[in-house]
Symmetry: C2
Subunit: 219 residues, 2 copies
């Protein structure tokens, strides 16, 4: 199947890309620059697509950042909180309705390219914090995509019941270059090691019992 994979340059979506290719899908890689602080992600996304010889489109949607008001992913003057993803403080990293916007744009491209599906790397570890990574949202959006055009697009979410450590394990099987993926929300030269997504990344490698090749600044 021809599938548009939404990739961020992070670990989860890198494994998604390899997972789809391993299943024999023809993959088009898609990212959005919505004005996020960690543009480092997008460079990693482009490098990943190049490595696998895939077309990669980055939709430039800078106008979204302005809409999103004060939140730490798009506003440079708000500090990224340290700590675990499940902490209440992590809620401020959320871009309102981000996944629906990403997936709607990806589906537009899928329709234009005649692809039958869009895939994203939502996983069970995201549940408590992000409603738009949960199955009820994914199922409802899949139903909306079936009605949006004469050319229906399915929404694939193969990791939605997986923990992040299961994703790391699958990535290790598939030879995903983990060191070339970017998770840190702070967007420095190295992973900070302390923000919510760094904390989750380190924990996933530890639980999966897979060596973590990431160079962290702290810890």
């Amino acid at each position: 199947m021809k599938t548009v994979a939404v990739i961020s340059g992070g670990l989860d979506s890198a494994v998604l890309l390899y997972h789809l290719l391993a299943a024999g899908d023809e993959v088009l890689a898609f990212s959005v620059n919505y004005g996020q602080r960690h543009v480092r992600e997008l460079e990693q996304a482009a490098a990943l697509a190049r490595r696998r010889g895939l077309r990669h489109e980055i939709a430039e949607l800078p106008g979204l950042a302005r809409l999103f008001g004060a939140n730490s992913l798009t506003a440079p003057d708000i500090a990224v909180p340290d700590g675990h993803y499940t902490d209440v403080s992590m809620k401020q990293t959320i871009v309102p309705n981000r996944n629906m916007i990403l997936l709607a744009a990806a589906a537009g491209w899928a329709i234009a390219e005649g692809a039958g599906a869009v895939a994203y790397a939502a996983h069970a570890g995201d549940h408590t914090i992000y409603p738009d990574c949960r199955e009820p949202f994914a199922a409802a959006l899949d139903a909306a995509l079936a009605q949006a055009d004469w050319h229906p697009v399915r929404l694939l979410r193969p990791f939605i019941t997986w923990s992040k450590s299961e994703i790391v394990r699958r990535g290790a099987e598939l030879g995903v270059p983990f060191a070339d993926t970017w998770s840190c929300y702070k967007g420095g030269q190295r992973h900070c090691g302390t923000c919510g997504t760094c904390t989750e990344r380190r924990e996933a490698f530890r639980l999966a019992q897979i060596p973590d090749p990431t160079s962290y600044f702290a810890g």
Copy 2:
């Protein structure tokens, strides 16, 4: 209710804005510049919001035009077809998944602003040509919006069973300044009078038996 109204500067969404205000809603006006040729629309949208003293946000999403490939709303080298909306030739004016993208971005802004709903001016005249103006799509997207965030956003579509002439009649009741709305896809100084949306606009005034104040280029 605090409601984000998606307005294009066209006739239908101008009536929507007045209709929501007449019902006592607190309205935030929202438009998207997705690289469309008829930016004249956006100027009319801004003027309409100013006239009613409303906040108006135009999300600049120029990256969408590139994704959409060859279609006459975004590609300057493709001629806009003349004729009636129901003609097969009008299909080429469609931006893939446009309404889901617009509504997803509008909902992001609604969440950021604490609004409880997003409204759009889909109507029954759009049915044969645009799946994303039909009730099955609207109902499915409404269900997805209920799952997308802790702050649920409803999707209002008050005109979805109305014909365009019923919208014109409602607009006349409400004193909508029809002459200051823009429909033509060709984006000239005056309405061309012959493209699909001009044809539909003229017909709606005729059927509604309301004087059409539009200045058309062709007779």
